[in-house]
């Protein structure tokens, strides 16, 4: 069995709009920073995999343009997923399990500032029954939030308290851009966008990029003092049809968490990708997190949400705390699709 670890993580600060950087200009500095941290260059990397979505910038094959940000000549072993970078990390992880390569570079980028993201995300809905109705991502999440309220699992005040906590915690995160001291009652006085969701219960949309370097066994130990060993990683998907799901629970997260071994030991820190405040409640329950686990100390997606990158950032934020010794055992989570349709869970440990 090959042991795989995260040895480096870098991110560009999330901002509401980065008007000057194109794909390559987002990718180049962040991949370089991650590789510099462990003294590697592109020619040292065995496998490179990226995650992004062309619809975000509306430019077909924008991920190909992003490769210009790498040193890809002579040609490199490269792959791409039209998904959050967390799934690119999964592919790279699986690739390293073959044992013939000892390093991989994973990166992702998301530019949310140029298009109507809530409408763009409708493109991922069922084209026969949903897409033509124009179900935006906020309204879909609102149906899920209402189901939570109806089930008695949460109140609107619970939602607001999550948003306040995340943005308060984000004050210590230089890479987050929506942060500070917010007030629960002020949030509850905001008008609904799609009831019961109000603006402050939704994530901001951000431009950002992130990169992670993976290494195996002794290579990882040679690169850093304390690799964040990926002890378990799994991802699961639920039915596409919203009306075929119980939106108050996340069986895909539950199974992924079991398979990744979340409950096998203590959890010091968990970084969850919940683009809407109510979703944190569902994810906490499905992951079975112990009470002492610090959840989203970075502020999570409610403080910065670069779609397609925020999931990889969650894995990176969790791994970073193992790398620098602040945590022994960390959980990273990423989601994709409407109402938490797909979920990925990774458990990382120090030695």
């Amino acid at each position: 069995m090959v042991d795989v670890a995260i040895v480096a993580f870098a991110q560009l600060p999330s901002v509401r709009c980065n008007p000057v950087a194109d794909e390559a200009e987002l990718v180049q500095p962040v991949t370089k920073a991650a590789m510099d941290a462990v003294g590697l260059t592109q020619s040292d990397i065995g496998f490179t995999c990226s995650g992004s979505c062309d619809y975000l910038v509306g430019r077909p094959f924008s991920f190909v343009a992003a490769v210009d940000g790498l040193q890809a000549c002579p040609p490199i072993r490269e792959s791409h997923v039209e998904m959050d970078g967390a799934w690119a990390l999964y592919e790279a992880f699986v690739r390293l399990l073959h044992g013939d390569l000892d390093t991989a570079l994973v990166f992702s980028f998301g530019k949310c500032s140029v298009g109507p993201v809530p409408d763009i995300l409708n493109v991922q809905n069922d084209p026969y029954c949903v897409q033509s109705l124009g179900l935006d991502s906020i309204s879909a999440a609102a149906l899920q939030a209402r189901a939570l309220l109806d089930a008695g699992k949460a109140t609107e005040r619970d939602f607001a308290e999550i948003a306040v906590r995340c943005r308060r915690d984000a004050k210590d995160n230089p890479n987050a851009h929506l942060k500070g001291d917010f007030d629960v009652d002020a949030i509850l006085a905001e008008p609904y966008i799609s009831s019961p969701l109000r603006k402050s219960l939704c994530s901001p949309l951000s431009d950002a990029a992130a990169a992670i370097v993976l290494a195996t066994g002794d290579k990882a130990r040679a690169l850093v003092d304390r690799p964040a060993w990926i002890r378990g990683i799994d991802h699961r998907v639920e039915p596409h049809s919203l009306g075929a799901r119980d939106l108050t629970v996340s069986p895909s997260t539950l199974i992924a968490a079991e398979r990744a071994g979340v409950g096998r030991d203590k959890v010091d820190v968990a970084e969850l990708y919940a683009p809407f405040a109510p979703q944190e409640i569902i994810l906490r329950e499905a992951l079975g997190l112990p009470g002492e686990a610090a959840v989203n100390p970075s502020g999570g997606a409610l403080a910065a949400n670069s779609v397609m990158t925020a999931g990889l950032i969650r894995l990176g934020e969790a791994a970073q705390r193992v790398l620098d010794g602040r945590a022994d055992r960390a959980v990273g989570h990423a989601t994709s699709g409407a109402c938490l349709q797909q979920n990925l869970v990774a458990v990382m440990e120090g030695e």
Binding site: G58, D119, C129, S132, L133, S139, D150, S194, S195, G243
Partner: protein, 302 residues
Amino acid sequence: MSEPLRAPYVLEYTFRRTPGPIMGRFLDGLRYETLEGVKTADGRVLFPPREYDETGTAVTNEWVTLRPFGTVRSWSWVEQPRTDHPLSKPFAWALVQLDGADTSIVHAVDAGDAKHMKTGMRVRVRWAHHKSGTVKDIECFEPHSLVMPAPSRLEFEVYPGRHYTAYLKALEEGRFIGGKSGADGKVYVPPRAADPTNGQPATEYVDLADTGVLTTFTVVRIPFPGQKLDPPYCFGAIVLDGADMPIYHLISGVPYDQIRMGMRVKAKWKPREQWGPSLENILYFEPTGEPDVPFEDYAEHL
């Protein structure tokens, strides 16, 4: 560095899709206002239909016709619809489980106001006028309650009688009259055949003013079937000067939060050419501006 350039950009695909046998049958059915779900191998009904159930097992070829009624399982009110939304006025997104189906369809509910939305409420399909073979052939859902219209209508000929006739004829001339029995009898409006306090004929007519005191009132804010006026409106009891019985009429010409018991009021008559033998000659009673009448002075008429 100078300000970076920016420009609008549109991404559009004029795709057409071949929906296949399952979705094709479903969508084709909608053109003809037919709602069909498909059965799974374990006997559940998927609506909207799918090719496979969530375990990945192919559905059967057994179709189930569903009626256009269902129950809201979750909803979200949108006060300001986005450009792409199915309705351009405030509406609700909802998961609607049709009767007989085991899954729900995402669609819109035209309920007018968020306060009409409730999980568990009953809704029915509103079909689009022009069909396109898409899920938009269901224009939306709308609230549905099991209420059967049951109007009843009977036609009569009314003879108001001698005293009512005298009252209505006086109204036709722009006057009020009352009737009383004896010099110290109570004055009834309209006049009546007998004074119920003493059983004596109350046939002596007296002229009354079109001014009086508002003894009590109500502001109607709730709509109801058959209502002739649009709420809100105020309905009051007016004891005309010289009368011992109130008549009932609309109170207006004043903000409703300023209407009070004991207020002096005067009839606001329609133009004379519109008069007939009817209390409808008066549009409403309005304040005179005189000081209010003390409660003790009209307490016996309440």
